[in-house]
């Protein structure tokens, strides 16, 4: 499924003209023709506005200034100000930098490993490889609480406990199953004839990978990269348990802003905007690949 969504679906002109089939290009801006069509449009609009309410609440509250919070969650501030963002930035910028330092290397390395594994599993299947792959996939679904004590002790042994490097290592290791799955599905869609041709020319496994497969893998890397960046940036559990204050990712610091007695909601919401911004931007700019990653994460 993943691979299909990555590649443009071939549409013949004949198909395109037939009424009733969805035609993506040229974009149709035709208004509904039937009363039923208008009802569908109205329901979609209302539901979508409903989905946007929490987004509005976050932004409106974040703009309400640096002193506490408005008296009502739906209120839009009379005098919108960025004051709350100043406070949130002061508390969060270190953690945002940590999140970036954790996310980028962990996503890059786990994607590379996943790409190599996916290539081997799809193009050079060996005896028992699909069973081993299934065994590997279990790692994608386990609750991490079931391994957190050994992971903690392991990082302690290596003196990586509480460090950014320790978090990177953990994210890479637990990222291998999902990236392997995404790349395996992706490479299944690349014709094996290409590999055969490279083999005839005398290229071995590695040479075929670096010279033939890697150049063809850009869409796969975009999908897996977005998926991993979002997952790792949004992680809370590992950061919460394995990091120290100096290496806290942004999600942990945001959660700590809640405090114990009173909550400064305008600052909290400004913080939420800062933490959400990178993944939301990634989603809005590369939405198509984001959806591909979603369906790729589903075992068929």
């Amino acid at each position: 499924m993943a691979v299909e969504t990555l590649q443009p679906t071939p549409t013949t002109n004949q198909q395109r003209r037939r009424p009733g089939t969805k035609n993506r290009k040229p974009k149709s801006w035709k208004l509904p023709k039937t009363p039923g069509g208008w009802v569908v449009l109205a329901i979609c609009t209302i539901a979508t506005l409903g989905m946007l309410v929490p987004v509005y609440v976050i932004v409106a509250t974040a703009l309400s200034g640096g002193h506490g919070a408005p008296n009502f969650f739906l209120a839009f501030p009379d005098a919108p100000s960025l004051e709350a963002f100043k406070g949130a930035w002061t508390k969060l910028h270190g953690s945002l930098a940590n999140s970036l330092q954790i996310t980028i290397p962990a996503a890059v390395i786990s994607c590379l490993l996943g790409s190599i594994n996916g290539y081997l599993l799809s193009k050079f299947p060996f005896k028992g490889s699909s069973a081993l792959f299934t065994v590997l996939l279990v790692g994608m679904f386990i609750p991490f609480q079931a391994v957190i004590i050994p992971v903690f002790q392991f990082l302690n042994m290596l003196h990586l406990q509480g460090s950014i490097l320790g978090l990177i290592v953990v994210h890479i290791i637990y990222g291998i199953p999902i990236t392997t799955l995404i790349f395996r599905n992706y490479y299944e869609g690349i014709p094996s004839a290409i590999i055969e041709a490279a083999a005839i020319d005398g290229a071995g496994i590695w040479r075929t990978y670096t010279r033939v497969m890697l150049p063809l893998s850009v869409p796969g890397f975009v999908v897996a990269g977005i998926f991993q960046c979002t997952n790792i940036w949004n992680d809370f559990l590992f950061g919460f348990i394995l990091a120290s204050p100096a290496s806290w990712p942004a999600t942990v610091t945001l959660n700590n802003l809640i405090g114990t007695t009173t909550v400064n909601y305008s600052e909290l919401m400004a913080g939420a905007v800062l933490v959400a911004a990178p993944t939301v931007l990634l989603y809005l700019v590369l939405g198509r690949f984001f959806v591909s990653g979603l369906t790729a994460g589903a075992v068929k």
Binding site: M51, P54, A69, F73, P143, S192, E196
Partner: protein, 332 residues
């Protein structure tokens, strides 16, 4: 390196697969794959084994390991299942999972059906519905904590609608439709029913993940051949009949995928509850994830036992799903 294309003898190859290559190449592939597999094996299977062992041991504080086995065998499990907190956690995670799954899957299905058929703005509607999925559970959690905060949140609207005493939401200890009333001497120490305090958390989780279900269903809808629907129309089937007999059956695979993936998210729920309420009064919003986290500082054995119970719940769903995927692949 010369690669011969003679069909491989027997060892280590599945001849039906595409690439003709020799045993040597295949072995090499296995060796390159081995380190990833080994690392994953250690960090998943071996570490789970370690956790199982800790759950059976006397190890309490992390810094002073005590690896002697607890007497009687499995005593920690016997200890925790009698706790009020453990029972509240099981109730909460079951209620949370059931209501959340119904909400997200039905919501996603309905949203997909409408968005699939809308005349304009399909891309926009889809983008908005999936937007929350890009957020961290902590961001969602703080937003919904604010929306349901008792004095400034939705309760103001409820009061304007004439509801005198709106619920206290995440701090409310009411259990709706309670099946039992524990007296204190019973084995069951919590009321089984729907805790009001869980509802805001369920709404928040539903908001975040309904778009995921929608995306799965939209992918399923796109794969239904238009001809089938046209043929049914020609045969006189109305909209409902087409939905009931053609569309829904073909969406079944999407439903299974949504069900399994969302179920495992629900069982593992942790961040969202931490950000919205924590354990709550009388553990009314406590979940296994928080239980485990709390006991990491004082009782390794109890934290591990709960983690293993959570793992078994997850595997009960995931393993059949993965085996199904594996079988289908072998057939293909």
């Amino acid at each position: 390196m010369r690669t011969s294309f003679r069909p491989p003898a027997s060892a280590g190859l599945r001849p039906k697969k595409q690439v003709p290559h020799n045993v040597k190449t295949s072995r090499r592939a296995a060796w390159i794959f081995a380190p990833s597999l080994l690392v994953s094996f250690v960090f998943v299977y071996v570490f789970i084994g370690v956790t199982v062992y800790i759950s059976l041991s006397n190890w309490k504080i992390g810094t002073s390991p005590n690896l002697s086995l607890r007497e009687p065998f499995g005593g920690t499990y016997g200890e925790i299942i009698q706790e009020q907190r453990f029972q509240a956690d099981i109730r909460n995670v079951v209620i949370f999972t059931v209501i959340f799954l119904v909400l997200a899957i039905l919501g996603g299905l309905v949203a997909a059906l409408f968005i699939h058929h809308v005349a304009v703005g399909k891309g926009l509607f889809r983008t908005v519905f999936l937007l929350p999925y890009a957020l961290s559970f902590i961001v969602t959690g703080v937003a919904w904590r604010w929306i349901f905060s008792p004095s400034t949140g939705v309760n103001q609207i409820l009061r304007n609608l004439g509801i005198e005493n709106p619920p206290g939401w995440t701090t409310d200890t009411t259990v709706l439709g309670a099946l039992n009333d524990p007296t204190g001497t019973d084995f069951l120490k919590v009321q089984f029913g729907i805790p009001v305090a869980l509802l805001p958390i369920i709404f928040a989780a539903g908001w975040q993940l309904v778009g995921f279900a929608m995306a799965m269903y939209l992918a399923g809808l796109a794969s239904i051949p238009e001809e089938h629907l046209e043929a049914a129309s020609v045969d006189g089937a109305n909209t409902w009949q087409r939905l009931r007999h053609i569309v829904l059956p073909q969406l079944w695979p999407s439903t299974i995928t949504c069900f399994v993936l969302l179920l495992h998210v629900a069982l593992k729920i942790f961040d969202l509850v931490v950000a919205m309420s924590g354990s709550g009064p009388g553990f009314v919003t406590d979940v296994p994830g928080i239980y485990i986290y709390n006991y990491l500082s004082s009782r390794y054995d109890k934290a591990s036992a709960m983690a293993i119970i959570l793992l078994l719940l997850t595997l009960a769903v995931i393993v059949p799903y993965l085996i199904r995927g594996y079988r289908r692949e072998r057939k293909a």
